[in-house]
Subunit: 376 residues, 2 copies
């Protein structure tokens, strides 16, 4: 019995509106997962996330392993209780973080041995350890441990790495102790080689996993290449399973990926950009530090009904940002997440509504992804 | 017609329970004013401050003058609208900040000429400028511009400075343009010389000001000396005017000052200490980074009903603090302010209730002021 069940409710071309049932409640899809690396979406309370229609959050296996430790969290009742979030949680596998340590990490068939910069300690992250940590955290969705390689990479390198990812996935499956509580999602790799992507998607589809992720994208390639890979992979995945595109992206990337059959997303853009004073609005991105906002009494986005836009002017938010005030980071983060979550909500409604509505969402998302200064 | 009116509702010895009416609503006293230097109580929304019984906030004249500028704020509808706070606001005069610039500031009878570290600009802060800025901000309570001198200082130095403070106060009074909208509070100086304090209190009392502050204390002296000066000054101030003790203090200092007739307080302790991981509880202060909280599932203060204590464990708050997460600063700040504001609420009830209740508050405040590690 899988911990996840996906129900398709409407489709518009390849775009899907559905519901993903998890041990901690339903997620209407398409859905965006705010990133909460250390068990907190930076600056936000669980209550605020719910107030802006956040249904699921993402946390990080490796970071929580190192601090405060997965066993500490397990003994305190699991990650949900620890962070006060009663909805679904997905953890990434930690693979990406380990591989980004580069020369501090040594990769073998067993796994990755690495030295944590934080405490100087040596650790071994393997498929088995990765599953154990995520089950200790008690999350709804665990990610399989996959090999992440440099980009660009040659065909042989990609093929060998993709095969290792499959072997590691099988070890992850074998290591599970509580499959009814924590689902395991496999990750389709294959670099930017359509045939390798197709082959890997077929291979993983045959394993009848709880859900499927598309990994190894959004690593610096042009958007067209990214979407090209999604087009190859998505149709080969089982229709009754959820599909998650990892680490993507700008509003228009989300809409385009949804149009190609993706259900689930995570990205640091709304939260990280907020801390840099970059705001997403239905009219394009804005940089709040810009001098033209000094006297501007308007809200960030006149079309937005989030707490920030209901109560504060661009002038005040600019002042907070320039004064490096905590409240500034907080209010911009809340707004950016509200924008992303609202976009997904409207996108879902558009899929149910039909092609014209979906085309209108595309147009909005193109505008919303414009760089700061590109509008008025 | 004064912008302020103080009504005494109950007394217990010299302790007073009253209501201070302001242009932006009533303040039940004794009251604590959270510090919002730059027009934001660090990390808190106005909504949160109200949720923990915050009635009035303090902002800083000099900081808002430098950034974003008092005229900018005036043109945006005043400080209340700018920061989204509809309750009363008091601004300190900026004198303390200017004098703490030391060699960057030159004091004359005209005022203080200084160079702002932030932008390297030369500025002149005088009684007239000080009143103009605070009226531009549109605050409920402006503080007179007073001379702040080093501690300890000799009798002649203190006497001369106190006389200058009176001359500056009279210039402040003459400079006012909107006395019905912005009250002006005078500041009693006199160092640690009881006769100078008494003389200055009498002099200011004769001016029938909107309200009275006791300044120049909490500058490093022992608590007994501070309370000694309060004992000299408070009884000489008009009974039907509010009394504000500037920059004080720990819970026990607040209770002891209330017992000597003070109504209003501000202090950075609850907010600044929160950002350093120092927590106030009814059982004493605690340092959340302490290793003994690593696995502790209890709330910060089992007797507290703030959002932080209702939802999060010490273990989680320690984790957030060690990870330098914004949410940690936020949740600790909320709790510390809830503690201070709750203390004032209970203190007010105790004054109405009588001597036994007030003695019980003293006992709690002694406990609450214990340094970290002093309990259990």
């Amino acid at each position: 019995m899988s911990a996840l069940s996906y129900t398709l409710e409407a489709a518009c071309g390849a775009a899907r509106a559905g519901t993903l049932q998890t041990p901690h409640g339903p997620i209407p899809t398409p859905a965006f997962m705010p990133v909460g690396t250390y068990g907190t979406v930076k600056g936000m309370t669980p209550e605020e996330l719910r107030s802006i229609d956040g249904h699921v959050v993402l946390a990080n296996t490796m970071h929580l392993w190192v601090r405060p430790g997965d066993e500490t969290i397990r003994d305190l009742g699991g990650l949900h209780r620890f962070m006060g979030w009663s909805g679904p949680i997905l953890t990434d596998s930690g693979g990406y973080q380990v591989f980004s340590l580069k020369e501090l990490a040594k990769v073998t068939e067993e796994g990755v041995r690495f030295r944590t910069p934080k405490d100087g300690q040596y650790r071994m992250l393997s498929p088995e350890v990765c599953v154990r940590i995520q089950e200790n955290l008690g999350v709804d969705m665990a990610m399989a441990f996959d090999e992440c390689i440099e980009w660009p990479a040659g065909r042989d390198r990609v093929a060998a790495s993709t095969q290792r990812t499959t072997r590691w996935l099988k070890r992850c499956l074998a290591a599970r102790q509580q499959p009814e509580r924590t689902a395991l999602l496999g990750i389709v790799q294959g670099g930017f080689f359509p045939d390798l992507r197709a082959e890997h998607a077929d291979e993983l589809a045959a394993l009848d996993l709880d859900g499927y992720a598309i990994g190894g994208l959004s690593v610096g390639e042009p958007t067209d290449e990214l979407l090209g890979m999604v087009e190859v992979v998505a149709p080969r995945l089982p229709a009754h399973k959820v599909r998650y595109l990892m680490g993507v992206g700008y509003p228009i990337d989300l809409v385009e990926a949804v149009r190609r059959g993706v259900d689930l997303f995570d990205c640091v853009l709304p939260t990280r950009n907020a801390r840099n004073g970059q705001v997403f609005t239905s009219l394009g991105r804005m940089s709040i530090k810009h001098a033209r906002f000094k006297d501007d009494p308007a809200p960030l986005d006149p079309g937005c009904s989030c707490y920030t836009c209901r109560h504060f002017s661009r002038a005040y938010l600019r002042h907070l940002y320039l004064s490096d005030e905590l409240l500034g980071h907080r209010l911009l983060t809340l707004h950016n997440l509200a924008y992303y979550l609202g976009l997904m909500r409207r996108l879902r409604a558009a899929i149910i509504d039909g092609p014209d509505a979906l085309a209108a969402m595309q147009a909005e998302a193109v505008r919303a992804s414009l760089p700061p200064g590109a509008y008025s």
